[in-house]
Symmetry: C2
Subunit: 773 residues, 2 copies
């Protein structure tokens, strides 16, 4: 049992490291040579250009304006200043809504913390349950005196906990309902105010049945001409361009090497760079590197051209899927929402994702394979989740004082030093856990890809669900049980799997201190570390030193990253879960969670404004998942309290908590019916309104030309290298933002433009290399 | 514990009563005066007219052709002879597919019975587990020697049970898959071959939002003209005609009384019948009954006319719902499958049910109320299900020998008589259970109506789901636990609710004899009683004696009844559940179940051909429910076997059974994705094909006229009494069946007409009393 002193030390360490991170960030971000690391978003938007072009040589790299260092937390109010509507314009709806998750955390937990500290803490503190138990050799710490552990068995005081649980449930549901309403209306407004985009008119058709007499393209055209005669406009088949993509990738790598050697040569004109042609350049013939790469690139270019031709001609390279475009949004909405043929596994239609959101390799998986793949992944995920627990449990048992003393008795004298002991108890379990979790998201993303989702956004959502389940089982339940296992080992191992609510309920108050340190390490120091962006910082400067010769290269060296919904959101959900579970049990945990939400809100707001560059825009399609998981956390908290109370000999409270669970489930279903369709389906009225409006304002728009090449495999577009320039040019010309080209070194936001309707749209750049079906 | 002798006696009694029922049926059905009771379907189709018109007086009532009595089971081959396609023509797809449920029972259980008797019975019989247990004072009977109870703890023989469970699972899934395929294709073929029907073009729109400036009718018209401009044709608003319906009902009752008095007067011309005007005719002024009723009817007719006018004029009598019709099936399919507006709880669209299938009172319930109602009913159903168990448990504990002896010691000498003892053990528990179940379907139907479903078919499906849950908890689980409670009371009462699989698993073999007698009482004698139709027989003759004066009255006196999906299907499902649960445990049960399925198949086939008159045609929309419940039974059987085996110290078998459960769940999900859409959604290709065909064959059909009055509240149609005549006239003129007007007294079916495409269609009769919106 950690004492108040342990927690104090852990808090001090974490606050200190958080402060160090923030200070380092404050200093680093003011240096001009870091400008592209800490403000890449503005560069990508073309609203900021390199400060290295002007002024004295030193001031290109180091900020000599010492006044700038005084307000080292100045970025915080700056980050908070941009209004939400402008934020949506600036970073997209996904990011703006993502930030709302942190806000919800504050909205939910601030009042709950108030009520629990006002009601439960005095009730807990003034009882003497722990004193009674101490007679039975149960140890406890000061923190436990604030928790439900201090209530005597069967005490009437437990009613206050039930009453507070009711208050928590209703307050949480109220906030969730309001937020769902708000987000749904934001989404609809966002969709309604969007400019014309190809995905508004396009439906992704999968599982086109094979036909001996017609090509896929003909078949698709005939099918939709017959079944949607008034609305069908055009279509694009999907090519199997995996080989081509490989070649293009190879060519790009070669170009990179060529660049490298050319820079090398330009720096040292005396000697042409050489290389060996064998494996990794370690052996083989020595050749002139520049000539060799130039000829290799020429060869590859020819191969690529040949492969392009082959794909365009070979019917086998056409996959049984197509992007079908319609004359109106109404026609597309109809096609996406209806079943086309008798067999519901053929001609599957669904809204096309944004072109940049498409995950091309998965477009050709047939239905039966999809269900089999889902089964395989479900089983694999099950084993991943449950066998992953074993190493965690072992490591954590080792990382406790008793575990280390048992495993390595010679260390006893060292770890009995008070400071080291506190350090081990405060830090090691959390760090062990963190290490385990680093490689997991990649594995989960591979699983999702194998499952066959066809857009990046759905891949991320799926991975997030899996990751949440994993965290729930392994971080939350795993820590409660495995941790408790050392204390209750004998009574535990032979229990049936169904007494889990009770067992967990008993263990929960005991683990409060563990989770407090976890929150400080993961939530406080971790979030503060996020803003420092250590990895992108190092990589940027390495690249800058080695490769960059032009402004364009410097732009490519930037790695703004993105929010990473698949890892970020489940992590936030863990805090919701901890907060809701511990609110009625150990209110001492809540202030730590509130600090986390507040800090994370500011940090991520700053990152979204200045750093991250989202890869797609799903229009907050993830919100039903977020909502659902918070409700799940609420239900888990009720069930665990039920288990805890029944071990407290307060069985008469069971019906009251069961009623609460039923009401919460009903609330979930109500919200699902009321709001979820706004995130899945597409109301015809909206489509018709936009169609009508557009027909009136732009009667002669060439929609077919607009849609013709929207959904072409990116590999057919990447042929020219000047694409990025075109994109940024388009950005500059199309953006309604005032193109001030500010040179300011601080991120003072632009004047707010609330009514603007532009949003990050995809570049419609298309070059001539696409095949004509 | 019932012995083999007890079961033999119960079997003898039940076979005897079944035979008596069948014999009585065979004799009664040959009597001409019962013709309308046993062959009403043919009268309704106009293919048979009363035999009482011709021949000698006696032969009008009694069949004197003694040869006819010889083959008293002749109806059985007759019932089996009609091919399925003709059956679909004759009775509709619902009935034909309903029969397939019994066939599936035979297909599943015949091979399973073979394999279990070939493998498990020898394995069980040759072990000696019961001998060992007998040393511990556990009693057992001969039947138990055939069951898994006879296997010793931890025996390797249990692997054979697991292997057989695998075989059972795969066989059952295979049959279910084939049947789902078959039924889905039957449904699609049925829908494709149907004649033009109003519901193919019509969508039911609910939750029309209130508008201060427009009436509901205008609002609906404008909305659909804007959002479905190319397809909208016409619409009908829904009137709140509850008061009118009451008046019409009252008038009908008056007319009946008038009839009665007129008959009374015509039989006895000397005296005009009198009546008292007060309560129930017991006091008040004496008046001439015929005159009184005539004037009352006139008054009512005026009131009805006034109410009709009021409804047509008063905007408050219009409910916020409408039947919207489209120019094409394609347009209706699109509207039914899409979301109309931003708010998914307004302008809810769904396919309109058949006009005769509409449940009018529920059309105006708003969305929020619907979800609240659902919550209320869910809670009410929970209490109904779980508190209903208490009386059953009490009755059954009383109805056992020990219970009676304890409750009424003075009866001891009587019930110790061997015959009476066997009777009590064989019969009383089942009968007690049956009595409880008689009033339940009515309660469940009221619950479903309260929940707000808008068609009779969905009401019946919902009630069936509830009834199934009820049977599962109370008949199946309730009997296993409550029954076992007498034997294991002490060990049972303090167990946690989560050990149920184990507890149930242990109890299952012990209850085999109880369920065998249950199957015989409910399944054998009950089904044989069904064909006798005692209640309709008595009511028909009572009415015939008291009221009938014309051929039309006689037709009205017929009460053919219908299949009653809401009670029938869950009862069949109980047999699936019992069969699957007991197949690996006590194979002795299976032959009884096979006899049930065979007998029920023949009886219901006969009833469907000759008696039942379905009230609606849903196109086998219930099949996903049927399929799902059989899969649930399969999963329950696997879980219970898991529990049983783990108490048999065969814990190493657990993973094998868990794999089976996972595979079964996956199978369910696969089938759901593959086939369920065929029962819910409406492929656009099919709609387009029919539209195109119809446009080519009948280019000038007046669709608007056809649809104009299709969805009018029945009370606006019932004004004229001659409707039935019109219906039957239409039947005769439209039916493609050869109108032979057969006088035969046996139900030789018509020559088979496989290719016919006519199906029971709704009467399009419309009279002039409907209000013009």
């Amino acid at each position: 049992m950690a004492t108040l002193g342990d927690i104090g030390l852990a808090a001090a360490i974490n606050i200190l490291s958080a402060l160090i991170f923030l200070l380092a960030f404050a200093i680093l971000r003011l240096q001009p040579f870091n400008d592209r690391v800490y403000f890449p978003k503005w560069y990508l938007k073309g609203l900021r250009s390199s400060p290295t072009h002007r002024g004295a040589f030193v001031s290109k790299f180091v900020n000599l304006d010492f006044k700038a260092y005084l307000g080292f937390l100045n970025w915080m109010p700056d980050a908070l200043r941009m209004p939400e509507l402008e934020l949506i314009d600036h970073a997209g709806l996904d990011s703006a809504v993502y930030l709302r998750i942190y806000l919800i955390g504050l909205k939910i937990f601030a009042p709950i913390a108030f009520i629990t500290w006002a009601v439960l803490v005095p009730v807990n503190w003034t009882d003497d349950g722990l004193l009674q138990e101490r007679n039975h050799n149960v140890t406890s710490s000061d923190i436990d005196k604030l928790s439900i552990s201090n209530i005597a068995f069967g005490s009437q005081r437990l009613w206050s906990h039930i009453a507070v649980t009711y208050a928590i449930t209703f307050w949480t549901c109220y906030i969730l309902l309001k937020e769902y309403e708000k987000v749904a209306s934001m989404r609809l407004q966002f969709l309604a105010s969007e400019r014309r985009r190809p995905d508004q008119f396009t439906v992704l058709t999968r599982n086109v049945p094979p036909d001996p007499d017609e090509s896929v393209s003909e078949l698709v055209e005939h099918f939709f001409l017959v079944n949607h005669p008034d609305h069908y406009l055009t279509h694009q088949v999907v090519y199997n361009a995996n080989k081509l993509a490989k070649l293009v990738k190879k060519k790009k790598k070669m170009l990179n090497w060529l660049d490298y050697y050319q820079i090398k040569y330009s720096r040292n004109r005396s000697e042409r760079p050489n290389m060996k042609t064998g494996f990794l350049g370690l052996w083989g013939n020595k050749v002139d590197a520049i000539n060799h790469h130039t000829s290799e690139i020429e060869k590859l270019s020819e191969e690529i051209a040949a492969e392009r031709k082959r794909i365009a001609k070979d019917p086998n390279s056409v996959m049984p899927a197509a992007f079908v475009s319609f004359k109106t949004r109404w026609g597309a909405a109809v096609c996406a929402q209806t079943q086309q043929t008798r067999n519901p596994t053929l001609w599957l239609t669904d809204w096309a994702p944004e072109p940049r959101d498409v995950y091309w390799p998965n477009l050709a998986i047939p239905y039966v394979q999809l269900t089999v793949r889902r089964l395989i992944i479900a089983v694999a995920f099950f084993f991943l989740t449950f066998f992953f627990m074993i190493p965690i449990a072992i490591v954590q048992s080792l990382a406790s004082i008793e575990g280390i003393e048992k495993a390595a008795p010679w260390l006893k004298s060292v770890i009995e030093v008070p400071f080291i002991k506190s350090f081990i108890q405060g830090f090691l379990p959390s760090i062990a856990l963190k290490l385990f979790l680093i490689f997991l998201p990649m594995v989960l993303m591979i699983m999702s890809k194998f499952e066959g989702f066809s857009s990046l956004s759905s891949l991320e959502r799926r991975s997030a669900s899996r990751y949440y389940l994993f965290i729930l089982v392994n971080v939350f339940l795993g820590n409660i049980i495995a941790g408790a296992a050392f204390e209750q080992l004998n009574s535990f191992i032979h229990q049936s799997a169904s007494d889990i609510p009770k067992t967990l309920g008993v263990a929960i108050p005991l683990k409060a201190t563990f989770f407090i340190t976890y929150i400080m390490v993961d939530g406080w120091a971790g979030i503060a570390g996020e803003i420092l962006m250590l990895k992108p910082l190092i990589f940027y400067h390495l690249k800058n030193f080695l490769l960059v010769k032009t402004e364009k290269d410097r732009e490519e060296a930037m790695n703004p990253g993105s929010l990473g919904f698949n890892t970020g959101e489940p992590r936030i959900q863990l805090y919701f879960l901890l907060g809701l579970v511990y609110a009625p049990v150990s209110p001492a945990l809540l202030p730590f969670i509130i600090v986390f939400f507040a800090l994370a809100y500011i940090v991520f707001r700053h990152q979204i404004i200045n750093v991250y560059n989202q890869q797609y825009e799903s229009g907050a399609a993830f919100w039903p998942n977020v909502h659902g998981r918070i409700v799940i956390a609420l239900i888990i908290s009720q069930v665990l309290l039920l288990g805890l109370l029944s071990t407290k000999h307060a069985a008469q409270s069971t019906p009251f908590l069961i009623v609460l669970v039923v009401v919460t489930i009903w609330f979930y279903r109500y919200c699902k019916g009321r709001f979820e369709p706004a995130f899945v389906r597409h109301p015809l009225q909206e489509a018709m309104m936009k169609d009508t409006l557009e027909r009136a304002t732009e009667p002669n728009f060439n929609l077919k030309g607009f849609l013709q090449n929207a959904y072409i495999h990116p590999v057919f577009k990447d042929g020219d290298d000047d694409e990025d320039d075109v994109v940024s040019e388009k950005w500059e010309s199309e953006s309604v933002l005032v193109p001030t080209k500010r040179q300011s070194r601080r991120n003072t936001p632009l004047p707010s433009r609330v009514s603007g309707a532009s949003s990050p749209s995809l570049p419609e750049t298309v070059n001539d290399h696409h095949p004509e079906p």
